[in-house]
């Protein structure tokens, strides 16, 4: 995820302090991984240096001074460009699972058992996500669905591979 672009986009509705930005980010996108303050301030320094945000005001308090950031026109253009650019689809060609299956076959280990154990682990996680989704709001549901569809794709691959294991064994041992 591009934290810089996301924080920039959050500034489009109006200037905010770094702490408000972190809270807004965590509420919408930080489900499993909230931002560290350090990340926010480092990112804002970079955006400031690149002219994508500017300091809108500074408040003096008991603690350190608090800067309020505002997005610049260049920042708005940068967000628009980021959104318009399609993400590169993952090629998924470097699969650890495929490597493990081949290694198991090459070394005479139980590839069937490996696939079963992996399948059980995938389903365990799918159950956990399904429970979270069932009790969650729409954001939770969409985030969990994204993960569930990817896990399901893995599972379908595990099933296909289990069905073709004899064929693969012959191929890797020849």
């Amino acid at each position: 995820m591009s934290i810089g672009h996301t924080l920039l986009a959050l500034l489009e509705s109006g200037p905010r302090h770094g702490y408000d930005l972190k809270r807004a980010f965590d509420a919408r996108f930080g489900h499993d991984r909230p931002l560290h303050y350090g990340q926010v301030y480092a990112t804002m320094s970079r955006l400031l240096k690149n002219g994508l945000v500017e300091v809108d005001g500074v408040e003096q308090g008991d603690g350190p001074e608090r800067k309020r950031y505002a997005i610049t026109d260049a920042g708005v253009t940068d967000v628009a460009h980021w959104l318009a650019q399609p993400e590169k689809p993952e090629p998924y060609l470097q699969s650890v699972l495929y490597t493990k299956v081949v290694v198991a076959l090459l070394t005479g280990r139980d590839a069937d058992g490996l696939l079963d154990a992996q399948r059980a682990e995938h389903l365990r996680l799918m159950r956990e996500l399904t429970r979270r989704k069932t009790g969650g709001d729409l954001a939770d549901q969409l985030i969990c669905d994204h993960a569930l569809f990817h896990l399901e794709a893995d599972l379908r691959w595990l099933e296909m591979t289990a069905a073709r294991l004899d064929q693969l064994a012959t191929a890797v041992r020849s």
Binding site: D110, G113, D116, R119, A120, R127, E152
Partner: protein, 231 residues
């Protein structure tokens, strides 16, 4: 053959079933506890539906036994097995299999009517389930006049109306789109948990199986409990 786990509500041991030269089940064991949702998965033709039909007493296995509580299904008469299926088991299939001539509320009330409940009382109970399944609005419509998703919810309501102790669901979302399928699964599993019904859920979709507590995989006519799948 392994002995059935203690405390199980429904358990099968060493089930064998062949259709002519084709072996569908080859020594399958299975068990489900009260309130437990078990997904039965496996490739097409692996014997999943045959296992479900044997467990529900719809077909007789060639060998092996199915025990429901303290009773062996093979020792029950046809009439006793029918009574069991009507009163203690509920069924949901891929296609609702509703009676086309009856309205939706009459369809849901049907298992109660067959059990001798008076029409008014049966339809009141049916309405409660239609409401719970979020399809109260189709009460007076016939199955041909409702959408696939609504029809399947009506079928789920019909399966639940007798408060069965075991619900057999064979690809219950197979004919539905993802959103409708998920809602049907949420409503079905929520109702099953509330009533402590056991669910035997045959599916080839992992996202549907993820609503279960555990899964068994049927391969080559044998059922394997994936909770024990470890290297």
């Amino acid at each position: 053959m392994t002995p059935a786990p203690s405390g199980s509500l429904l358990a099968a041991t060493g089930l064998r079933k062949a259709y002519g030269p084709t072996t569908a089940l080859d020594g399958a064991d299975f068990s489900v506890h009260p309130g437990e949702i078990v997904a039965v998965m496996g490739p097409s033709g692996s014997g999943k539906s045959t296992l479900l039909h044997c467990l529900a007493g719809i077909i007789r296995p060639d060998a092996g036994s199915v025990r429901y509580g303290a009773r062996k299904l093979s020792e029950l008469s046809d009439a006793e097995r029918s009574a069991l299926r009507r009163g203690e088991f509920g069924f949901v299939f891929q296609f609702g299999q509703l009676v086309p001539e009856l309205t939706c509320v009459e369809n849901v009330a049907l298992p109660l009517r067959l059990g001798g409940v008076r029409r008014k009382e049966a339809e009141q109970q049916a309405m409660r389930w239609l409401e719970r399944l979020e399809v109260a609005g189709v009460r007076g419509k016939r199955p041909g006049e409702v959408s696939g998703g609504q029809g399947q919810r009506v079928a789920v309501a019909r399966a639940l109306v007798t408060t069965p102790r075991v619900i057999f669901a064979d690809e219950p979302t197979g004919a539905l789109d993802s959103l409708n399928g998920e809602r049907v699964m949420e409503l079905l599993t929520e109702a099953a948990r509330d009533t402590r019904a056991a669910v035997v859920l045959v599916t080839h979709e992992a996202r549907v199986a993820a609503y279960s507590d555990r899964e068994v995989v049927v391969r080559d006519g044998r059922a394997r409990d994936m909770a024990g799948a470890r290297l």
